[in-house]
């Protein structure tokens, strides 16, 4: 029987030099984005914890940071920046678009104000 029939079987042998370089590069990006995300999270925390920054600024600010965080996570940790993820990108962004539009219009339409 074909030995390659089972896709979950462990790979055998050493990775090639090219693969090694690619993995190393990926490791670096992962680390950089991890540090960046820690930084973003702490910024969000401090902007709420500190008494100097008014809430009117802090709340939209951390919402923007949260959005940024989601995008970074999707692209660097969930590998959406790699080749062959065109469909994933298209679907996630159109889903986000539909959801954002829906939530925005719901916020406008459910309120007591009439448009």
């Amino acid at each position: 029987m074909d030995p390659h029939a089972d896709p979950s079987a462990p790979l055998q042998g050493e990775p090639s030099n090219q693969t090694k370089r690619k993995l190393k590069r990926e490791m670096r990006t992962q680390l950089v984005s991890f540090v960046l995300m820690i930084f973003i999270t702490s910024m969000a925390f401090f902007s709420i914890a500190s008494d100097v920054i008014p809430n009117g600024f802090a709340i939209p600010f951390i919402l923007i940071l949260a959005g940024l965080q989601v995008v970074l996570q999707l692209y660097f940790f969930m590998h959406m920046n790699e080749k062959g993820t065109g469909w994933v990108n298209a679907m996630i962004w159109s889903g986000l678009f539909v959801a954002a539009l829906t939530v925005a219009s719901l916020m406008l339409l459910i309120g007591v104000v009439k448009y």
């Binding site: 029987m1 469909w87 159109s94 448009y115």
Partner: protein
């Protein structure tokens, strides 16, 4: 499991455990046809009640239950599963794949739908069916006494999970499993429109899931999302329902558009006019489908600016739909048209659907909608688009694909009798309802007073409904009397797409060798530019097949049991049901299941025709 063991299974066990897309397709078709008959019966009962003014054939409460279950059954348990049946059977064949991407999930989706459908219909025998309309507007639904609405909430929730799973499965199948050479822009239009419909399922069903969850929490656990006295808002339900509900009607119509786009070129002997425009129009309809939900709520009072925006967005949908209509007409233009039953349904669809579309634009004019809202005008409109579009599409698909699926051709003479009876009955039933609506007859009323000019038109409408009922019986007769037409079933219509290259009955692995696709309408291209056979993209080899499994049925059954526990507040039963489901999921996760191989010799033996 070995190949020999997979070959020698008990028939019933085989169907209960099947993960073969073709068998699941047939299961969907059978269950959908059953629910279609049930929904049709409910409609005829309602029409008998409305045949004469102040009739007392059925009581108002029963009438409310009938109209609710008619709508819910037809949309969720008949139209969608019947389309899913064709999608399941045909998408892998049309893209040259051996199965869908996730065969196990496919089976799970079917059993969830079936148990959800059974759960909904059990309500008839458990103290009354849901009675708040298929839209179940709060607070009517959240305050409705009895358990009817609980069955509605949980039945739809369970079958909704099944639909969502099915939609995701089709998306992945189309993206990942196309045969070599089958680029997106060489896909048959039925696959394209099913693909877009699956996207709509993916984005629209979560809104229904949330709406039903809120309604469940409100009904069963005393939450107050919709209760105004405790700070809730009844409009939330309407928004959530229609954010789902409007894309839902495009989920129903787009695959039917796809079927017509297969049937018309085949029987006009021409390639589809404006293929890329058709694809683009399908995508635009899918996109705009999410921007128009509030046109169901013009009279709620969301304000003139919001009404105007949604009215304009709604009218915009007429543009891509018009593109499609003209493309179909130009496909027919100059073609050598064969008037087979399948094609008759496609030809009958075009004017019928245009009429439904025109009343749609009338309804989209928000100022005029204050007159039309909740009258029989709306009833006439959506039956024109759903029967004239989806049901005609389904019947066209039945007559077109029946030889491939069941191995015999349906009798054309009986089929044409069926078509003309159904078409006449349909227009007789619903054309007059436009005028009933304009005269002020409200939808969903259980009775009306005599002498208001409504008597004759209602009588005509009921006669039309009887004709449709007779037509459906003739369809059943056709199905059971045509079984001997087993000749010429592989490619009876001189087909254009890959499903007609398979042998009938289709072997479980579909294609002995994955075909190489060289053009749009791949089979047609090989017939006229090649040697009439598909080029193979691989040598004959062992074929990897998934094992059947009873777990999908068990997981779905667990949720079915848990639903009863929730409906009757017997929480131990709910927990037992959930445990059954989780055991099923756990077994699926931990049990290694690599499927089996059909040896190359067996494939070769099939291919040479000998056993």
């Amino acid at each position: 499991m070995s190949y020999e063991k997979a070959q020698s299974k008990n028939v019933i066990w085989d169907w209960l455990t099947t993960v073969d897309h073709k068998k699941i397709g047939i299961l969907y078709l059978a269950a959908g046809a059953f629910f279609f008959a049930v929904g049709g019966l409910e409609a005829i009962l309602m029409r008998i009640q409305l045949m004469f003014p102040e009739s007392s054939f059925i009581q108002a409460q029963t009438f409310n239950e009938l109209l609710t279950m008619h709508g819910t059954t037809m949309v969720f348990l008949a139209a969608m599963p019947l389309l899913f049946g064709f999608m399941n059977y045909m998408i892998p064949l049309q893209i040259g794949a051996r199965d869908v991407a996730f065969p196990f999930l496919n089976a799970l989706g079917f059993w969830l739908f079936l148990f959800g459908g059974i759960l909904l219909n059990v309500s008839w025998f458990a103290g009354g069916a849901p009675d708040a309309g298929w839209t179940a507007y709060a607070p009517l639904s959240s305050e409705s006494p009895g358990h009817g609405l609980d069955f509605y909430v949980l039945g739809l929730q369970v079958s909704g999970i099944g639909t969502l799973i099915g939609g995701i499965n089709f998306l992945v199948t189309v993206i990942n499993m196309r045969a070599p050479g089958m680029s997106m822009m060489r896909m048959p239009l039925f696959t394209w429109s099913s693909f877009v419909a699956s996207m709509l399922i993916l984005f629209a069903f979560p809104a229904l899931t949330i709406g039903l969850l809120l309604l469940m929490l409100e009904r069963l656990f005393g939450a107050t999302y919709f209760g105004v006295d405790l700070g809730g808002n009844v409009i939330i339900w309407q928004h959530l329902f229609w954010i789902f509900g409007h894309p839902e009607v495009y989920i129903l119509i787009l695959p039917a558009f796809g079927i017509f786009s297969e049937v018309l070129p085949t029987f006009a002997k021409k390639r589809l006019f404006g293929y890329s425009a058709m694809v683009f129009a399908t995508l635009i309809i899918g996109f705009l489908g999410f921007m128009v939900w509030a046109h169901h709520m013009f009279t709620v009072g969301i304000g003139p600016v919001a009404n105007a925006i949604f009215a304009v967005a709604t009218m915009a949908i007429a543009v891509p739909t018009g593109i499609k209509i003209f493309n179909w007409l130009l496909t027919l233009w100059g073609g050598r048209i064969q008037f087979t039953t399948a094609n008759l349904f496609a030809l009958g669809f075009i004017p019928t659907f245009v009429m439904g579309g025109v009343t749609g634009v009338m309804l989209a004019a928000s100022a005029a909608d204050y007159q039309f809202h909740d009258t029989y005008f709306v009833v006439a409109h959506f039956h024109y688009v759903i029967i004239g579009g989806t049901v005609f599409g389904l019947f066209a698909g039945v007559f077109y694909w029946w030889p491939k699926i069941f191995g015999y051709r349906l009798n054309e003479t009986l089929g044409k009798v069926f078509f003309w009876l159904f078409l006449t009955g349909f227009h007789l039933t619903f054309f007059v309802q436009h005028f009933l609506g304009l005269m002020g007859m409200q939808r969903r009323v259980a009775s009306y007073l005599p002498g208001q000019g409504l008597d004759q038109l209602n009588f005509i409408s009921t006669i039309g409904a009887f004709l449709m009922g007779v037509a459906f019986i003739i369809l059943l007769v056709t199905i059971f009397t045509s079984m001997k037409n087993t000749t010429n079933v592989s490619d009876p219509w001189d087909g254009r797409t890959l499903e007609w290259t398979t042998t009938t009955p289709v072997p479980e692995y579909n294609f002995a060798q994955t075909p190489l696709v060289r053009e749009l309408d791949a089979f047609w291209y090989e017939k006229y530019e090649g040697d009439g056979k598909m080029k193979a993209a691989e040598p004959i080899g062992d074929i990897h097949m998934p094992n059947g499994s009873i777990l999908p049925l068990i997981i779905a059954f667990g949720l079915f049991v848990a639903s009863f526990g929730l409906i009757y507040a017997v929480y131990p039963l709910a927990i037992v049901g959930l445990i059954i489901s989780f055991i099923g999921m756990f077994l699926r996760s931990v049990k290694e299941d690599h499927g089996y191989h059909i040896p190359a010799e067996a494939v070769k033996r099939d291919k040479d025709g000998g056993k």
